[in-house]
Amino acid sequence: MEPLRALEEAYNRFSSDPLFKKELARWLESFAGRPTPLYLAANLSRHAEGAKIYLKREDLLHGGAHKINNTLGQALLAKKMGKRRIIAETGAGQHGVATAIACAALRLKAEIFMGSEDMGRQRLNVYRMKALGAQVHPVESGSKTLKDAINEALRDWVTNVEDTYYLLGSVVGPHPYPTMVRDFQSVIGREARRQILRQEGKLPKAVVACVGGGSNSIGIFHDFLNDLEVKLYGVEAGGHDMSPGKHAAPLVAGREGVLHGMMTYVLQDAEGQIESTQSISAGLDYPAVGPEHSYLMSVGRTKYVTQTDSEAVDAFKQLSQLEGIMPALEPAHAISYATKLAKTFRREDSIIVNLSGRGDKDVEMIARQFPQ
């Protein structure tokens, strides 16, 4: 509890400090590449035969995903707190890469925990982390995926708490992480809201984002929460099918529980043991979800749906060929749902999809599974 209190205190102090905010804004602009464009995917929209589909191009950020918004913020905070050793967990490897990038730039030592199963399916990101000077620790316990990497990072943190900062990658874990990560990611929605008003002169009908831990989705939803006419859709991994262990959709198919220091929706069996998950996208392969999503769903502000592995792969191919943009498999779930949702709106309406990352990391696996 004491390290969490110290973190909360430091975060409260620095997040309201104009100098800290200015420093972070400068890093985000000149290093990470903010603001990112809001791009009208005209070909995809025509193909979907419905509302205009806009893509918030977080895939164009340095490192290839929205993760850098958070890692730069937290790495700066760690530096202010006097911590020199940074640990992080990673699923698809995007958060690990973004942590390695932020740490290299800010001269901090980075050590990344990654499930050995994920290391196999995201080899490219393992090389990238190492090339950026980070150390990668394979995690062999449990299901050898993201949740186990978080377990190991938590164990390391309690062991080395005096000099180590745990840089969590999503809106999960104990307070203050869900709040802090949301704040760092909410730059996505702030920009997107301003951009759509400038380009369309009105708010979109809906905002769609994929949900694993839920950081890119909370990030884009947050500035729209008070615009009650804008529907907010989170897309979870439907995996192979909706039987236990074959998907990663805690909001759609889980129930209330406690994991990793948070009370939220969790995939679990009748005895409270955490269920294994399955998804083609390592970044969505997590049995719980940020507690704010659970709250937003319970008050009816957000809706959660699923798309399967094969629907995500189809969307990957579709966006690549129709728009010349290869999405990561995670946001491909959101693209897939958005093309269906677009049909329910008129052509003069718009929806925004958070294109949270680029697909280069997934090409090898897609080529292996779908060689044609």
């Binding site: 509890m1 004491e2 390290p3 316990s141 449990g142 949740k147 186990d148 377990n151 938590l154 164990r155 309690v158 062991t159 080395n160 708490v161 005096e162 209330e256 529980g257 406690v258 994991l259 990793h260 220091g261 969790v266 679990q268 009748a270 005895e271 409270g272 043991q273 955490i274």
Partner: protein, 249 residues
């Protein structure tokens, strides 16, 4: 760990520990994601779960054991299995089967009011953990709200045997003992495996020492000849118990 590696071997192992002089039994109810535990206990939980262990089945075994022994039993588990059963039902079950106390490492004091109320109602001691970096202010409320004993985490880290006591261990014992001021016994755990660890801790003022992984490791070393485990466990616990009697030196 309850039902590690299976219910029958578990009962034989526990029996040998009681015969060897254990003063309190700490029985784990396995959880799939035990973040406070090191690899030894984690593996034991995995073995128990694959052998079909559930909280209910372990309660039933404890109920049978409590008919044979008078040693107090403390449960160690994580919050989610308790929530899944329902806190009230869990406490009633524990109480009906002779459980005396419960430790939940992922339920901080600050989130546990309802849990503590229901434990109290069913006469189960809620035992809280204090670590080397726990602030004085928080220690005071831990002392206030703990029942049975206070579980002192003797190091920064997770469970698991270490060769030497951590540098913080003895200092933490002294600090916590002076804050507890005789209001609650203080038992030290995490990383304790050797008789000399125990005598040092007790000399520093601890009221008890908690040994987990060192015993679980013995179980793990005898998975192929489980009938050998009780003898080894008994030898270990006897030596540890012996050390606890030498606190005067």
């Amino acid at each position: 760990m309850g039902h590690d590696p299976d219910p029958k071997a578990f009962v034989a192992n526990v029996t040998s520990l009681v015969e060897g002089g254990a003063d309190i039994l700490e029985v784990g109810i396995p959880f799939s994601d035990p973040v406070a535990d090191g690899p030894v206990i984690q593996a034991a939980g995995t073995r128990a779960l694959s052998a079909g262990a559930t909280p209910q089945k372990i309660f039933d075994t404890i109920g049978e054991l409590s008919l044979q022994f008078t040693v107090p039993v403390v449960i160690l588990t994580y919050y989610n299995p308790i929530l899944a059963m329902g806190i009230e039902k869990f406490m009633r079950n524990a109480s009906d089967n002779g459980v005396n106390g419960i430790v939940v490492p992922d339920l901080p004091l600050e989130e546990g009011d309802r849990f503590r109320e229901l434990a109290l109602k069913h006469n189960i001691d809620s035992i809280y953990l204090a670590a080397p970096n726990t602030s004085a202010k928080r220690l005071v409320s831990i002392v206030d709200k703990s029942k049975g004993f206070l579980y002192l985490v003797s190091l920064y880290g997770v469970t698991g045997p270490r060769d030497a006591l951590s540098s913080q261990a003895l200092e933490t014992v002294k600090r916590v003992k002076s804050l507890a001021n005789g209001r609650i016994p203080v038992s030290a755990g995490f990383g304790i495996s050797q008789p000399e660890h125990i005598s040092s801790l007790l000399r520093a003022g601890a009221d008890g020492a908690i040994v987990g992984s060192a015993l679980v490791r013995t179980v793990a070393e005898h998975l192929n000849d489980p009938e050998e485990a009780p003898n080894h466990l008994k030898k270990t616990i006897t030596a540890l118990k012996q050390a606890s009697k030498q606190r005067g030196c």
